[in-house]
């Protein structure tokens, strides 16, 4: 079946360095992608999104890149801070009867920021 998956289950990064989290997707019908951050004991928190008609979008310290040719999504975090330690999920969805349908999540990547 089609799925969204992550290449690395755990990513260790030194404070101040840049982080890159990767995600592969296979559903060609998906046209909207989201990155979520989940801290312990909390629900997923929206970080940044991107539509399929874009290949790059920037936020505050974060950048999402979308490569539709190889069905690859990445999240870049600049100057990683201890507060960035969390599990990061990519998710995909598509318009469904005029409304956004279900999100399909990847397995998640644990980011650990070391001093």
């Amino acid at each position: 079946g089609e799925s969204v998956g992550l290449h690395l289950p755990t990513l260790s990064v030194q404070e101040g360095d840049n982080s890159i989290i990767n995600c592969a997707y296979s559903n060609s019908a998906s046209d909207y992608f989201i990155w979520y951050k989940q801290e312990s004991g909390k629900g997923p928190q929206f970080i940044i999104d991107i539509r399929s008609n874009m290949d790059k979008r920037q936020g505050q310290r974060v950048t999402v890149l979308l490569n539709k040719t190889v069905k690859h999504l990445s999240l870049q975090i600049a100057a990683t801070q201890p507060g960035d330690s969390a599990v990061y999920f990519c998710a995909e969805t598509a318009m469904w009867y005029g409304s956004w349908g279900k999100l399909q999540f990847g397995a998640g990547t644990q980011v650990v920021v070391t001093p």
């Binding site: 004991g41 629900g43 929206f46 999104d49 409304s99 956004w100 999540f105 397995a107």
Partner: protein
């Protein structure tokens, strides 16, 4: 403005018992979703309400799970009878019906433990 709230935050029940989870979405959000994450697995979609109607319930695992959203406001998810494999974290999310944004706001989750 209050976010998505879920009750209880944690529930421990015996196999065969019944548990009801509740979700209060963000006011004005027509879309309400239930997801769950079982140990070591990715977050999986359960179902999607648009107001009080079930738009997509393709993720409901079996007929032991019953979701309702009477009046199009809060929603309940009942598991009856609960089995060991139902243990996990159940998330509720809500979103607006604005085509431009598909991101859903998540609650903190209900951790269900079936013993």
């Amino acid at each position: 403005e209050a976010g998505v709230t879920q009750f209880p935050s944690h529930s421990v029940i015996e196999k065969g018992q019944t548990v009801t989870l509740r979700c209060d979405p963000i006011s004005g959000h027509d879309n309400l979703y239930w997801y769950r994450r079982v140990m070591g697995k990715e977050i999986k979609f359960l179902l999607h309400f648009v107001k009080e109607s079930k738009q997509d319930e393709s993720g409901m695992p079996n007929n032991r799970f019953l979701a309702e959203r009477t009046g199009g406001t809060y929603s309940t998810l009942k598991v009856q009878p609960a089995e060991l494999e139902d243990s996990g974290v159940y998330f509720c999310a809500s979103s607006q019906s604005t085509p431009g944004r598909g991101d859903a706001f998540f609650g903190q989750g209900t951790r269900l433990t079936v013993v």
